[in-house]
């Protein structure tokens, strides 16, 4: 028994200071329930990182979903994909017959500048901030490989071209390398356009067992891990090992090889994040991601498009909603519903989300999932 994606929905992504978190969730839920052609579910899993007390219940009750088991998940940037993973396991195990996974986040009401982790965390207390975590990876990566800051910027250029084709994206302007490198410096070597901006949004996915519908998308496998220790004894930059190991779990469960993916949605909260992730996923060799980006292999029209939605950099990164939005994008791609950013003939989609921020760990959580057209 396995799980199928019956319907997906999202709000728009961006700075939506005049919208309540629950209102954004209602948009996503109404669309997903209609897309799935159901009016109720048996349980809900809700991913949110900074969501306030009861945001899941406020959101779900507004579309008639109350009195059911509701589980709220905090797994940093992988909160939404953890909710989808747990919903899929609940369906596959026969625990429930219809489940909704919701992700919701409203960052502009909480932050003015870069997101910081918990003040009792060593690295945050020392002033590293999230951009700093990734900047450290970039510093090391540039030292170890024959790669330049211009090469890193090309990831943002690629994803901005994709985001310009996504009507729901936060940043809808195609950027040049000069614009990316010339934007405000945040944490050297990462400039503003190499960092996902503050975003408010929600996304929802309805899952259930197999139906007689070619529109339903097969959740062929998903895997969840938390990171092991990350310190001076670690061989790779932060987050590499947990993504690699989670991907291997998912590939094995799905019976695919990395090269079988036709389209990917991966965690590009920062340009270096996409680079390290693509290598950890086994899509390219270590040190090879920037060359693959430069060659156009990972762009729409290339051999294996990565982040056709615009990714976290351009679609936006409302933390808890991100993983669910990745599932929505892949569902649209695998059904052929992705409009101007459609990857022609896509049959297998892979998503990866990595959440971190706890000092000394190689990430708080990572989810890798394999989706297949129905």
């Amino acid at each position: 028994m396995s799980a199928w994606i019956w319907g997906v929905g999202t709000s728009n992504f961006g700075r939506q200071t005049d919208r309540l978190p629950a209102e954004l969730a209602w948009e996503a839920l109404v669309e997903a329930l209609a897309d799935a052609e159901v009016d109720g579910v048996d349980a809900a899993y809700v991913g949110t990182v900074f969501g306030s007390l009861g945001v899941a219940q406020r959101a779900l009750s507004g579309v008639g979903l109350s009195g059911i088991p509701i589980v709220t998940v905090e797994n940093a940037c992988a909160s939404g994909s953890t909710a989808v993973h747990e919903a899929g396991v609940a369906i596959a195990s026969g625990r429930y017959e219809r489940v909704v996974a919701l992700g919701v986040e409203h960052l502009t009401s909480l932050f003015k500048g870069p997101i910081a982790s918990d003040p009792t965390d060593l690295e945050q207390a020392t002033g590293l901030l999230f951009p700093g975590i990734y900047a450290m990876s970039a510093s090391r990566y540039l030292h170890e490989h024959d790669v330049t800051i211009e090469d890193l910027a090309e990831v943002a250029v690629k994803n901005s071209r994709h985001g310009a084709l996504n009507p729901r994206a936060q940043r809808r302007q195609a950027l040049t390398r000069e614009e990316v490198l010339g934007s405000k410096m945040i944490a050297e070597p990462l400039t503003l356009f190499q960092c996902a901006g503050l975003s408010d949004a929600a996304a929802a996915v309805v899952l259930g067992p197999r139906r007689r519908s070619r529109r339903d998308v097969h959740l062929r496998a998903s895997a969840l891990r938390s990171g092991g220790p990350w310190d001076h004894a670690s061989e790779h930059v932060w987050g590499f090992d947990v993504v690699r190991d989670t991907a291997q779990d998912a590939y094995a469960a799905a019976g695919i090889a990395p090269g079988d993916a036709d389209v990917l949605e991966v965690h590009d909260a920062f340009t270096i994040g996409e680079v390290v992730t693509l290598e950890a996923l086994g899509l390219v060799e270590e040190g090879g991601a920037p060359a693959a980006v430069a060659a156009g292999e990972l762009s729409l029209g290339g051999t294996t498009p990565v982040n056709p939605s615009g990714g976290l950099l351009s679609r936006g990164h409302p933390l808890g909603a991100t993983g669910v939005a990745q599932v929505a994008e892949l569902a649209w791609q695998l059904r052929g519903d992705a409009g101007d950013r459609q990857v022609e003939g896509a049959r297998i989609g892979v998503l990866e989300t990595m959440g971190g921020g706890t000092a000394g760990l190689d990430g708080n959580a990572c989810v890798v999932a394999v989706l297949e057209a129905g």
Partner: protein, 128 residues
């Protein structure tokens, strides 16, 4: 030689730095089973789960990575420079770089623990 116990900063997760005979030292732990060192002081080793004992590290090490943060964060004014420094035979330490931006700190350079900033952050300076 008797050593004074480190001052516990119970609400502050940052590592403790004390004065040693040859300069400031980081107070952390070393696993009694596998020998793995840590800049924090948990009761069990993150690598093998073994019991830990207090240990002191530094002051010298090698820069693993570095960044300069250009956005203000709470109590700190930007820009400021941070480095992960792998202390010799010790743990990786996240530290502020003395004299801050413009220093041109590079990966793989040698650095030395020089104490704590007025705000309580461990700080290092490059050795050239």
């Amino acid at each position: 030689m008797a050593v004074a116990p480190p001052t516990l900063k119970r609400t502050d997760p940052r590592p403790v730095v004390v004065d040693g005979a040859d300069g400031p030292l980081l107070v952390g732990i070393r696993c009694t089973l596998c020998g793995h060192p840590s800049a924090t002081s948990p009761p069990r080793c993150a690598r093998c789960g073994g019991e830990t004992a207090e240990a002191r590290f530094g002051p010298d090490g090698t820069v693993w990575a570095t960044t300069t943060i250009h956005v203000a964060s709470g109590v700190r004014e930007a820009p400021y420079t941070l480095a992960y420094v792998d202390l010799d035979d010790g743990p990786r330490l996240l530290a502020h770089v003395q004299d801050g931006p413009g220093l041109g700190l590079r990966v793989a350079e040698r650095a030395r623990l020089t104490g704590e900033t007025a705000g309580g952050d461990p700080h290092v300076k490059v050795i050239r």
